[in-house]
């Protein structure tokens, strides 16, 4: 996606140890005008990423906007403050679930609770 014309890619993984896919840049990304993000200088070695770091159960630990260098260094790391915990990441592929049928409603003879209470009192 583009933010103010600057290509920003979203990926999921370990923020401090990006793998080669994270660092791979497409030609149009390289050619883009990255300085448009209002920084005082433009360095073509650095590029922007939004990274979602999940736990083993896929719950979100943090979401960060940062710059990576082609060698895997990072800087300008900004963690997006979350107002509420994100439980899971919505799956890209939706698997339709079977319909839910509840058990039959329970209807039973009335229990005379007043008699029971009286019995307890006598004890």
């Amino acid at each position: 996606m583009l933010i103010d014309g600057v290509p920003v890619r979203l990926h999921k993984g370990d923020i401090e140890n990006p793998d080669f896919r994270v660092l791979r840049r497409l030609p149009f990304e390289i050619e883009a005008e990255q300085e448009q993000l209002a920084f005082s200088y433009f360095d073509p070695k650095w590029f922007w990423r939004i990274v979602v770091e999940p736990d083993l159960d896929m719950s979100v630990l943090r979401i960060v906007i940062l710059q990576y260098s082609t060698s895997g260094d990072y800087r300008n790391l900004w963690e997006i403050p979350l107002s509420a915990p994100i439980s899971t990441i919505a799956p890209v592929v939706h698997t339709p679930q079977e319909g839910i049928m509840l058990d039959e409603p329970q209807v039973a003879p009335k229990i005379d609770r007043t008699k029971k209470a009286a019995g307890n009192e006598r004890k």
Binding site: H94, P96, G99, I100, L102, E104, Q106, V107, P109, K110
Partner: protein
């Protein structure tokens, strides 16, 4: 009856008359008496003679004792949410309310002998459309329905969490359903319309009123809109619906009917839900509705696409308890309530296969 120690309650005559759908003039004609005389009886200005009392009882399917017990638990218009309040003639509304009042008599009676399911329908205050959406999601989650799967049986779901559902027929198709709170939440639903998908939507709509509009003044059209939105959100949760709604430039009606069969919701309601969630723009929404009208689906969608009819279960189960544990027959119950057994049939109490 003149000379009877107990007073004759005119309100009970009015109740039984409106329950049967008679005007004063029609009942007067049937009993060869004047409308004015019946009006005097109803306003407690006169008491009937013995032969008139017997005639009234027979014509109104009650026993004479019915008129000598005071009216209690009357259901008033101020506590019921009618979907088409403005277009429903008042005589039909009054008749529907009398159904509610007589049903209350039956329910109060049954509650002396039967433990109904625990009520788990807490009130949720809403203001915005997002509040309504969340209220429906909250109910689904609390009731173990998840947000990604259809509800197979809406009737059973509501019954499981303390709602009592009863039915009526023979009034008018102008009244789909109405709901109110008494000792427990009650939904009264018409059997006039044959569509099971719409019946499911009606129940979800009334569930919306019961959850969101307890203690609010009825008759506000905004509340009806909220209840419709609740029904859409309850039956078609947004996350799953957005995933499953067919994504194409032109509407794919085969896919829409497939979606209907999976979720048990009419195509009309699916289209509306898609519009509310901005999956369709105003032009697409209008064109879809024109297409629905041209195919005659507004008055009934293809029967083969309709979900299975849903049986009410709580009332027949209550009767089974009365039979098994107290050896009460329908006649015994009717006698205690001073009504004819035929009236009990109206509520889906006896017929264990009452379905809609």
């Amino acid at each position: 009856m003149k000379g009877n120690k107990k007073p004759f309650y005119g309100a009970k005559l009015r109740l039984s008359r409106t329950f049967k759908g008679f005007t004063l003039a029609e009942l007067g004609e049937q009993l060869t008496t004047s409308r004015q005389y019946l009006q005097r009886l109803e306003s407690d200005q006169d008491s009937p003679s013995e032969d008139m009392l017997l005639a009234l009882s027979e014509a109104l399917s009650v026993t004479p004792g019915f008129f000598f017990e005071p009216l209690s638990g009357e259901v008033s218009e101020e506590e019921c949410h009618f979907r088409k309040l403005k277009t429903t003639p008042s005589n039909l509304r009054i008749r529907a309310l009398s159904y509610g009042t007589i049903f209350n008599m039956l329910l109060t009676y049954l509650e002396k002998y039967v433990d109904f399911p625990e009520i788990k329908m807490p009130s949720i205050k809403v203001r915005t459309r997002d509040d309504v959406e969340r209220a429906a999601e909250k109910r689904r989650m609390a009731w173990g329905l998840r947000l990604d799967a259809p509800i197979k049986n809406v009737t059973r779901t509501l019954e499981c969490f303390g709602c009592v559902i009863t039915t009526f027929e023979g009034i008018s198709e102008k009244i789909d359903a109405f709901s109110y709170h008494r000792s427990r939440p009650i939904i009264v639903r018409s059997l006039e319309k044959g569509s099971s998908s719409r019946a499911r939507f009606d129940l979800a709509h009334e569930c919306g009123h019961l959850v969101m509009h307890n203690d609010l003044e009825v008759g506000n059209p905004e509340l009806e809109d909220q209840a419709n939105q609740f029904a859409g959100a309850f039956l078609l949760p947004r996350t799953a619906f957005i995933h499953e709604f067919p994504k194409s430039v032109r509407l794919n009606w085969t896919e829409l009917f497939r979606l209907k069969q999976r979720w048990g919701v009419s195509v009309q309601a699916i289209i509306r839900r898609a519009y509310d969630l901005r999956l369709l723009n105003a032009v697409q929404y209008r064109n879809a509705n024109v297409y629905i009208s041209r195919n005659g689906w507004r008055h009934g969608e293809p029967p083969e696409t309709e979900p299975s009819f849903e049986n009410i279960r709580v009332l027949p189960a209550a009767y089974e308890v009365m039979q098994a544990n107290h050896s009460y027959s329908v006649q015994d119950i009717a006698k205690d309530l001073c009504i004819q057994p035929s009236i009990l049939e109206n509520f889906g109490f006896i017929k264990s296969n009452t379905a809609f």
